[in-house]
Symmetry: C3
Subunit: 422 residues, 3 copies
């Protein structure tokens, strides 16, 4: 048994965050986590990884002993990725990607199916999700319908990318027949296969999280945090007055200052700092990050080397090397308390939650007292001035300032001498 | 002995706060507190309450066993209110209202006067107050002058609405003779009565607080707090690291988080929350309110279900269900440190104090980092955007935003790689 | 041996701070500190102090037993100052000023030189400094070059004003010969003297700090703090929960509230206050100053009677009687993390550091939530409104406000009833 890891996606809807494969939770990227878990918990020992020009070097570096292939034409989507690996697809193969975070129990159920050409993991949804739906007779899949309109779904079973092909050459054959003009070639090939071959839908009852939009990082972070057990490195320096509650992982070199509170679940990466009078809860703090004094971080993801100082960061994602000046606040709730929306690739999308702050790309700096509105995405390498109100996305490498027109007043009243505080 | 409670006023100068009768201190409204105290501490057992269309249902609900009457024409003021109760005014009657908060000792002195047609409680003032002044010969009142100009006062005795009429039918007769065109019919009837009947001025030496303008809530709150004794419910959850000092009442279900400080006198209503690193002092926190982490509340009144987060609320009144975004500050001191002024019914009034913040009507939301200037009144149900400077009153159901014009800069300097904190 | 103290400078490049002679570190002004140290640690017992009209009264008050002279024409600079003291300059004299803060060891080395007409203390610099450079053959000085262009320096020895003249009448003679049209008459007279008389350059290896620009106060403060030893007055009131670490001097009457942190080296002057949840580190807090609750003061100098409340003051100098409203932040790092620049007497100067906040003159008030940009200088007696962004110097007695244009929105969404916090 082998796995084909589809890692060539360009994470365009994940902007301003970089390639989702390399997003770190704890000390490992999610693609490493996925492959390690498969290697350890299943019979899969051989991995074929398909990347693109943009991430091939990094994939090769992370997986020097595995097969790493380059998909040349990324516009051909999953179909192109599978065809890239054609010569390796002779034996039973599990196709999987980091677009869907699935617990290992679900994957094992797929791997365990017998007497069929393959199996597809499917999530039973209770409300509309914009994905591919499986049409099923008993447990046999007879069709797949890509993004039907709401209420037109053929079932409540959504296709997750955890596909077992006992004879992957059948898939290759169909893919080659399918025209390449659209990006749903893979699904069309599947639909044809389902007509003639027996594919079984495995209902997934465990956790699943899509990793498509940047706010999904917060949901994925929740899953990561849920699995943590309290573990405090003896090499961490924690002030006697600090309060550490619940399942908190504190790595080596971490420093926690006086009157800081860390309320689990929370993860504090190597050499990160929680300053005096700061509060961290339900959050992931990347290595070398500094939650400077007087800050609060709640339900957020901070990458590496993020620097805060007297901020509130709530329900937000700050990529590596981001700094916020004192008094910067991430607004994470609309005044009307309705669903927060974001603009992704020029389309306004609901984020599915009323509590969502902002996402800031790597290397950005935000000036003191600036207000960041819910749902705003800020491109990497941006400079945003002080005292501003940011209510729209900013492209990469933005350099934004603003001024409040000042007015000189007359008739200044003379102050009397101050008395000492009684 | 009976009491006629005048409760029909529309609290227009109390805007943006609702009907003052129902303002709560602790768990009871002030009208309940007034009637309960009279019932318990005096011989008055019968209460006739005059309300208006706007509050009749609520008065009937609060006082199901008392007589609650509706004054049809509210423009007729106190005269109309007394005439509404005409048929009940056969026996000695104390006329009182929630416009004047008076300690029970003063009221008892009025009730104890003998050998006269009635008595009027009078506050000896040391500086001008815009009220009715009693002209007195020895202790007999000979006239009442409504709002004389400063320095034209006939005495330093200000009429408080705590009036005993041993023969209230005399008052009724005079009220009927007085023309109805002005709203001072009651005082003119009094003036006539004083000519022929012996009314005694009782000097009030105890506490008294008018409840006319919204900032009077803070003064009334001070009186309430002064009377508190330390009392902490066993059903409250208080972090070990929290500091609770002085006369603090903490009700059931209250939660106080780490490193919070509550410095008495202070009142924390049922199920209210004082968050991590927050400070509450000299304040009243209504039930279900949340003083979210990193906030300070000083000398303020918070109604029920108010939500703060990283705010400073000083010398301010926040009505029920108000939320402030992180970083919102109530300015409570002018730069020139002079008296704070407010606009009440289009007139600019001095508030009599140099420390006064703002008053926010029920159900309002204020966005992050917004600055509220001293003396501002915000109508109920308002939405105020983030990062703004609010220096004028806002009407009810305002929805205010503002933008700082942003400018894209060129010549962005490249940042060098960040070094870890040493 | 006597000393001539040059104290007539008008501290114009020190604006918006007042006369540098009277800047206090701990409880004494620097001129007092300088003279006291000389009196105690050297053989100098006689002091001739030259002031100007602007500070003569104050100098006489501080040094009632010393000779205090007035330099009439301040435009004549050091030359004029020395000539003012002509009749006292008969015996060996050390000329010194508060423009250069030099440790006593250096001064003693100058005083100990033998067999020469005089000696000049010189700082060996490793990079360009805009001062006077000594041209030296062996240890004998042969010339002095005022502010050469960078790379045109005749040596790496910068002239410090710590000059010993064994025969000061020689200097007087030269000064009289030198034309008065320029302000470098003193240096030109020196240059002439060096031709004929043997003056020795003493290399200064100890601490030295120029006190020329307002940001030099922070460097001088560092020197002061370095010398502190932990000393806590028994007359200070320190909350049990407060944390006091390192070499902190806490004077009588100081009050430190709950959960405050003071991290040494730090100096808290008499009756100063560190409020609840505040943090003071590497800073000097003048007497009667109040670091109000929720503030952080880092690497800063606060004069007397400064009032903070929920501020961040970093790498900044606040003169006496300055108040910051809640939420005011001193930005102390540029977005591009490059050297902070300031405008001094209309010229833009580098401050030599990437971490520098602002300097605020005495008696100023800054409104809530205002953002002060790095390098800004604010004249004394200024009023600055709330919610503003101050990115340029403000002259004395400025009264600045600003408004963000507000917009009334329609289609206000109705809020549903709030649920209590679960």
């Amino acid at each position: 048994m082998q796995a084909l890891i589809l890692a060539a996606g360009r994470s365009r809807r994940f902007w301003p965050l970089p390639d989702k494969n390399f997003l770190k939770f704890g000390d490992v990227t999610i693609i490493e986590h996925q492959i390690k878990t498969l290697r350890k918990k299943t019979s899969i020992k051989k991995f074929v990884i398909v990347g693109g020009k943009h991430n091939l070097a990094q994939l090769k570096k992370l997986f020097p002993r595995d097969i790493v292939l380059e998909q040349k034409n990324l516009n051909k989507g999953m179909a192109g990725a599978v065809l890239t690996a054609e010569k390796y697809l002779k034996e039973p193969t599990l196709i999987i990607s980091t677009n869907d975070l699935i617990d290992i129990a679900g994957i094992k159920k797929v791997l365990a199916t017998k007497n069929c050409a393959g199996a597809i993991l499917a999530k039973q949804v209770s409300e509309y999700f914009p994905g591919g739906y499986l049409k099923v007779t008993q447990e046999r899949i007879i069709d797949i319908v890509e993004k039907p309109k709401p209420s037109k779904e053929p079932s409540n079973l959504v296709n997750l990318v955890c596909h077992l092909f006992n004879k992957p050459t059948q898939l290759i054959t169909e893919l080659k027949k399918t025209s390449n003009t659209k990006d749903d070639g893979y699904e069309r090939a599947l639909a044809k296969l389902f007509k003639t071959e027996k594919f079984i839908a495995i209902k997934h009852t465990g956790t699943w999280q899509a990793l498509k939009y940047p706010w999904h990082v917060l949901k994925a972070g929740e899953l990561f945090l849920t699995g943590l057990k309290r573990q405090i490195s003896p090499k961490a320096q924690i002030a006697k007055t600090a309060v550490i509650e619940g399942d908190v992982v504190i790595e080596a070199g971490v420093r926690i200052f006086d009157f800081a509170v860390v309320r689990g679940p929370a993860f504090l990466g190597q050499n990160s700092v929680v300053g005096t009078h700061s509060l961290v809860r339900d959050s992931i703090i990347g290595m070398n990050s500094v939650v400077g004094s007087g800050s609060e971080v709640a339900r957020s993801y901070l990458g590496e080397s993020v620097w805060l100082h007297r901020n509130y960061v709530g329900d937000s994602v700050l990529s590596e090397n981001v700094s916020l000046g004192a008094g910067v606040v991430t607004g994470n709730l609309r005044l009307d308390e309705s669903e927060v929306k974001s603009i992704v690739q020029k389309r306004k999308l609901g984020t599915g939650t009323t509590k969502f702050g902002c996402v800031i790309g790597a290397g950005s700096r935000i000036g003191i007292n600036t207000s960041l509105m819910p749902g705003v995405l800020i491109g990497s390498g941006s400079f945003v001035g002080s005292g501003l109100i940011i209510s729209e996305n900013l492209p990469e490498k933005s350099f934004i300032t603003g001024t409040i027109k000042l007015k000189t007043q007359k008739n200044r009243i003379q102050l009397s001498q101050r008395k000492p505080l009684s």
